[in-house]
Symmetry: C2
Subunit: 552 residues, 2 copies
């Protein structure tokens, strides 16, 4: 019958990856049936107790606990002794290297370090990040389980100081050719990324590399950055940095599902970068490939392919953003599907958006009148009861159009004109004079989507001509109309961010936490100092908070 | 002061478009300030009363009511008299033409008619449609406001008889070059469409025409066909018809927002057509351009462009569908974003799908175990508390993989393998032997998505080679993996539909309802007979139901 033995090593703090390797080593020792190598925190002891390795021990967070189920005590002791050899061998690669115990000392050793990489357990992470920001450094915060209100506070501090804070729970970044956290080795180049998704960023950068192009910077923001409570704070700063970064020619923005308002503000920022931005919205793109400087990808691979294409094409498009209207968009549609298509475009450019059609990110409203930005399906049942369809009878739309034009808050009107058999025999006959009268009165853009062919009884070319002559802007593809519409809408007023471009210089890094990240930075030949971090006050919460108060 | 005058013409039934034209004519008469021309139903009288044309009259649904607000009675009378001239002029174009009063008689006059187009007011439409189906004819049902349970009953009847019933509220169809309802004039060709959306169908057919290609048939199904209660009954029949139609080379399927189960069944049908199918899902496509024979469009214009491209390309792809597994798909992922991407693909191919990630059309489940088809993010907080991330430590996934392989209900396993700095230094070292052991035991497809570059420390090529040698199928793009996965999954068992191909022959039509549709069919030189329809029993509901009982 095997018995559980243990050994406690006081004040010997190791990170979770080293512990894992040590545990695997213990498990491989002869006569050992099961083993654990953990920091002896209360929580970890409870996990042990729930399994088959329950032990009683009086310990602190900073104590190393080795546990083994073995035939007899001498077998377990032999295994525990071998751990010393194992630790000695590991230490040899860093022989002679001085490891500071505090971040402040580390920064004295490497004063050029503009980045601090933090991967300590979540409950200690905020304090380390605060210290790094206080010392004027950008933060790569790999640690997870940081409370949301602390994330917000940290990001406010960073922003106020002109610093970046990537994370918490930021899996990856590539800064000027150096990977932080998990990152693939990729060619240097002129495509920059901002990504709420770590493996998303890894997928796209590897694909761009495979396609023969390269990366300027890849900035992970942490998955929660797009939460309404955080408001994409880091993503805004990162976009703004890449906009100003001379090495970045094309930007890729990878989003996670988010609120409509957060998405619209972030895309408004993207529209103001003055560079082409490939956008991948994981919860659904608008039904068009392009809105001005924004290029929408259907998936991660497509994002990489689009970026590569843009990186090798002279678009000649993107100067400073045009000054568009801040007035309301009003869509008056006879076709329900076309209305829904426009709605899906509009909700990515402005918020809130109203409609009598139901869709995500759209506020419901009756078709009889709508506030703000709206798209109305005039063919809906509630508006056509006892009346012919608006594709046959233009009257109700003409009345409505005049009403919209009389409203000074309206900035753009969008109409569909559906030709063909069965429809109004000559829609331009009534629309053109109404449009001309409106345009004589004020410079209101009226965009028309004409659906028709050269064979249709109404003669599509003649209809287009008369609508154009009346002052309407006519499109034959909704995608073209959407692209045009983007250029007419002012990006909502954005707070300027003044993040220091120094964040994007060749990084020198202080690493606090996982030694594996230190090893990886050394392999990449980055300048790096590793802090021999251990939980303050041995992980005693009460003592930690007293120390905290003394410090401030 | 002007006064309201009226004139009632008993038994003079006119359709809503003719009434509208008559009303416009009345409004233009000198001295008339406001006018109405309506069928004198209770509902219409109430609409009048709500406006400024309230009158008292004892009337029936089949009576024509003219109302005018004018200076004096003689002015109104003169206007009413002019209506006679107007009606006489209208009648001249059909002079000498015999107009039957019943559908049965019309079909005796045109026995080759395989279509009946119905656009009578909604409350009469079901009875006319039932009669047409009883007489063995396909139905184009333009009428709206038909109750949902009647729609279901009509579609069940049609299907049992091998007939198509397009609608209700079907705006458009093109059958063998002839437009029914609202339709654009387009070139004949080899692209066939099935569309729940009328203006969607019009947009795509006009774009295909503009791109120089043509249409075989365009079958509108009515917007409610995709409701769960109807289960896309008409769409299934229409897809099946186009699959068997020799004139159709490429199919376009335009969907409206629908339930996940309805969408999956419809796409399963599309996968079984043996032809390439361009799919536009208005509520969000999966994150890939292609799943086997399905090509996903980003918008209506893109659908037209894709169809045109496929129509001119020899894909050599699409024979009868491969016989795939009906076992469960289990995704075990270390990257949350990659897991969500696969989830969005999987939910379009099978239902239900489970995950510890939240997404539309996905059932929530804890990450510790999942029934049915599932994709689990092994890096989620609940699974990594106190443990290293699965990108670093493969152990928990290896255990899980072995468990999945032991479950005979599992048909496919999907894994991601994310390389790069910071990740497991050699994931193939542990994965390959496990995969080889599983594959030695049973022929379980294990698909791996490898994310990495040639510069990564793990050596991507070597990792791919070892995983392949162990029997895994390795992909470097999620889109390729998704396409591969489609081919391995059997389309869920589908009921055969046996709709008569005669529906797609050059149409001869009996028109019941709007005269404008009759005019348009004549202009298109289709064989057509117009029924001089009027409400049975003068629109008296009680009498109608007695007649109905006598008939059956």
């Amino acid at each position: 019958m095997s018995v559980v033995h243990h050994q406690l090593r006081r004040g010997c703090y190791l990170d979770s990856i080293v512990l894992l390797q040590m545990q695997r080593f213990l498990e491989e020792q002869p006569g050992v049936n099961e083993a654990a190598a953990i920091m002896a925190s209360r929580a970890n002891l409870e996990i042990l107790a729930a399994g088959r390795l329950a032990i009683e021990v009086d310990s602190r967070d900073e104590d190393l606990l080795l546990v083994a189920r073995a035939e007899d005590e001498s077998t377990a002791s032999r295994a525990f002794e071998k751990v010393d050899d194992w630790l000695r061998q590991r230490g040899e690669k860093n022989a002679g290297e001085h490891r500071p115990r505090t971040l402040a000392t580390a920064l004295q050793m490497l004063p050029t370090a503009q980045w601090v990489s933090i991967s300590v357990p979540g409950r200690y992470a905020t304090r380390v990040a605060e210290e790094a920001l206080d010392l004027g450094r950008n933060v790569f915060l790999y640690s997870d389980n940081v409370p949301l209100d602390e994330e917000r506070r940290l990001k406010e501090t960073a922003r106020a100081k002109g610093l970046l804070l990537l994370g918490p729970d930021c899996g990856t970044a590539i800064v000027n050719g150096v990977g932080l956290g998990f990152a693939n080795r990729v060619r240097r180049g002129s495509i920059g990324l901002v990504a709420a998704s770590g493996t998303g960023l890894q997928s796209v950068t590897t694909r761009i590399h495979a396609l023969g192009r390269g990366i300027s910077h890849g900035l992970g923001t942490g998955g929660r950055d797009l939460r309404a409570e955080i408001g994409a704070a880091t993503s805004h700063q990162a976009l703004d940095l890449l906009a100003r970064d001379p090495a970045t020619r094309v930007i890729v923005l990878l989003s996670k599902p988010t609120s409509p308002a957060t998405a619209v503000a972030l895309l408004a920022r993207a529209r103001c970068t003055g560079k082409p931005v490939v956008v991948y919205l994981q919860d659904g793109s608008p039904p068009c490939r392009r809105l001005g400087p924004l290029f929408f990808a259907t998936d991660l691979d497509d994002a990489a392919e689009l970026a590569t294409e843009l990186d090798t094409t002279d678009l000649g498009i993107v100067g400073p953003p045009r000054a568009g209207t801040s007035g309301f968009v009003r869509g008056l549609f006879s076709g329900g599907t076309l209305a829904l298509e426009l709605l899906q475009v509009l909700r990515t450019l402005v918020q809130p958006v109203y409609s009598n059609l139901s869709a995500q990110g759209v506020e419901p409203v009756s078709g009889h009148g709508a506030p703000g930005h709206s798209v109305i399906d005039l063919g809906s049942d509630e508006l056509t009861l006892g009346l012919p369809h608006p594709m046959i009878d233009p009257q109700s739309r003409l009345d409505r159009l005049r009403r919209e034009a009389d409203d000074p808050k309206v900035g753009v009107v969008v109409l569909d004109v559906v030709l063909g058999d069965g429809s109004d025999a000559d829609p331009a006959a009534s629309l053109a004079p109404t449009i001309a009268a409106i345009r004589a009165d004020r410079d209101l853009p009226i965009l028309c989507l004409v659906v028709g062919t050269d064979l249709d009884p109404q003669n599509t070319d003649a209809q287009v001509q008369r609508l154009s002559d009346a002052g309407a802007t006519v499109h034959l593809r909704l995608a073209d109309l959407a692209d045009d519409l983007e250029g007419r809408l002012r990006a909502s007023d954005l707070e300027a961010t003044e993040t220091d471009l120094g964040a994007l210089a060749a990084p020198a890094v202080v690493n606090v936490g996982l030694e594996a990240f230190y090893d990886s930075l050394r392999e990449q030949e980055a300048e790096v100092v590793h802090v021999d971090w251990r939980p303050p006050a041995g992980g005693n919460e009460q003592l930690m908070s007293i120390l905290e108060k003394l410090r401030s």
